[in-house]
Symmetry: C2
C-alpha cells in the first residue's frame, strides 16, 4: 500500500513574523501545505479549535494534529522531515541553538514588540532593554560567518533573523533607534544574509505593506490607550 498523502495546513496571518518563520521552515524542507489566512480581529473557529489555550497564530496542522508556538513548530518540522536539517545532531550544539533562538525571542524581540504597545517612559525602557540584549546577540555572532551557526542556514536564522526587518519598521513608526549600525555590524550582516536567501526572500511580505499595516495598527493602539486613559479622567 502506498503511504497515505500527508496533509499539512498552516493557520497564519500575512503580517506575522512568527508565521513567516514557520513558512521559511516549510520552504527549506520543501513541504507543500494549505494556507489559511486568519482575521485576527475576528478569530476563526478553526483557530479557536486548534489553539484553544493561546488562540494565536501560527498553528500547524499535520494530518489534523495541531502544533502551536513558532519555535516548537520549527523543531517539530525539523524532527519530522529530515531533509535539510535545521538543528545540529549533537545534543549540546542543539541545546546551544535553542538557547540563542529563545534568547532572541524572549530578550530581543519581546521588548521590541512591547515598545510598539507602549508610550513615553515605558516605551523607552523597552527600547533600552532590547538594545542591551541585541548587543549580547551581536557578541554571539561569529565574525565572517554567513549564518548564525556557520555557512548553512539553520534554526536560529529562521527563528529570529526576520527581526532586522521588523526592527526597521518599529524604528520608523516610533522614531526610536533599535539597531545601532556602528555597534551591531554582525547583526546587520546576519539579518541581510538570511533574508537574501532566494527561497526565503520570496516568502517575505512586501516591506511597504508591512509598514502601512503597522502604521494603522499603531494608530489603533494609541487611540485605544487614549480611550482607556480617559476613563479615570472623566470619572474624577
Amino acid at each position: 500500500m502506498a503511504p497515505e498523502k500527508e496533509l499539512v495546513q498552516l493557520i497564519g496571518f500575512w503580517g506575522s513574523p512568527y508565521v513567516l518563520s514557520v513558512r521559511w521552515a516549510l520552504k527549506l524542507k520543501g513541504i507543500e501545505y494549505e494556507y489559511h489566512e486568519e482575521n485576527l480581529l475576528k478569530k476563526s473557529p478553526l483557530l479557536l479549535q486548534y489553539n484553544p489555550v493561546y488562540k494565536k497564530v501560527p498553528v500547524l496542522l499535520h494530518n489534523g494534529k495541531p502544533l502551536v508556538e513558532s519555535l516548537m513548530i520549527i523543531q517539530y518540522i525539523d524532527e519530522t522531515w529530515k531533509q535539510n536539517p535545521l538543528q545540529p545532531q549533537d545534543p549540546y550544539e542543539r541545546a546551544k541553538t535553542l538557547f540563542w533562538a529563545k534568547f532572541a525571542h524572549e530578550k530581543c524581540i519581546a521588548p521590541m514588540v512591547s515598545s510598539f504597545f507602549k508610550i513615553g517612559e515605558e516605551q523607552e525602557k523597552c527600547v533600552k532593554e532590547a538594545c542591551e540584549h541585541l548587543r549580547t546577540l551581536e557578541s554571539a555572532l561569529e565574525e565572517g560567518k554567513r549564518f548564525f551557526g556557520g555557512e548553512t542556514i539553520g534554526f536560529v536564522d529562521i527563528a529570529a533573523a526576520w527581526m532586522g526587518c521588523w526592527a526597521r519598521i518599529i524604528e520608523e513608526i516610533l522614531s526610536v533607534k533599535l539597531i545601532d549600525e556602528e555597534k551591531m555590524p554582525r547583526l546587520i550582516a546576519w539579518f541581510s544574509n538570511v533574508v537574501e536567501v532566494p527561497a526565503l526572500k520570496e516568502c517575505m511580505p512586501p516591506t511597504q505593506n508591512l509598514l502601512e499595516h503597522n502604521i494603522k495598527f499603531r494608530k489603533f493602539l494609541v487611540a485605544a490607550a487614549e480611550r482607556l486613559q480617559s476613563v479615570p479622567l472623566t470619572g474624577n
Copy 2:
C-alpha cells in the same frame, strides 16, 4: 582506550525547585554528579562564568560545557543519557509534552512566583491568573493516570509537579488560595503521585526548611518594597 570518565557538575541552590527538577532528572537517569551550592546573595565567579547571560541556577556542566534553564537542561539530559527516557520518541508526542511543560512554567508557575513578589491588587491579579491556568492544566490531566503522560514518569512530571509543594508554601505565607481541592482533584493526585516516587522524594528539601526560608525571603521582599516606596514619599 577506555572512554574518559564523564564529569557532570550542577550549580544549584537547595531551595530552588528548578534545580530540584534537574536533580530529579539526573536521579532518574542514574547519573552521578558534583554539586556546587550557590549563595544567591553573592553569586560565585563559577555561576557568572558559566551563565553570564541570565546569572541564574541551575547550571549543568557536562565535561565543562555549560547548559542553562531547567527545561533545556532536562531535554539535554534526556538526549544525552538514553536510559529511562523522559520524553516520548514520536515527534508529535514530544512536542505535546514540551507544550505542557512550558505551559506549566509560563502560565501556572510564573504567576505563582510573581504573586510572592507582589502585594495588594497586583498580588490578587497574579493569584487569579495562576488559578485560571491551573484549571486548564487540570483539564489536561487524564483521569486515573498516575503521571502526566501515563503510567511512566516523564518530562512534564519532573519539570513541573513540584509546583504542588511550592503552591502550599505560597498559600501559607501569603494567606491566598491557589490549589482548589474541589476543582483540581487530578492536579492534587498528580502532585502527590510524583513527589511520592521514592527516588524523587529523597531529593526533596524538607518542607519545614523551605517554609522557614521563604518566610524570611518574603519579609525581606516586603521590607525592600517599603523602602522603595518611601523614596518618593520623603522626596515629596
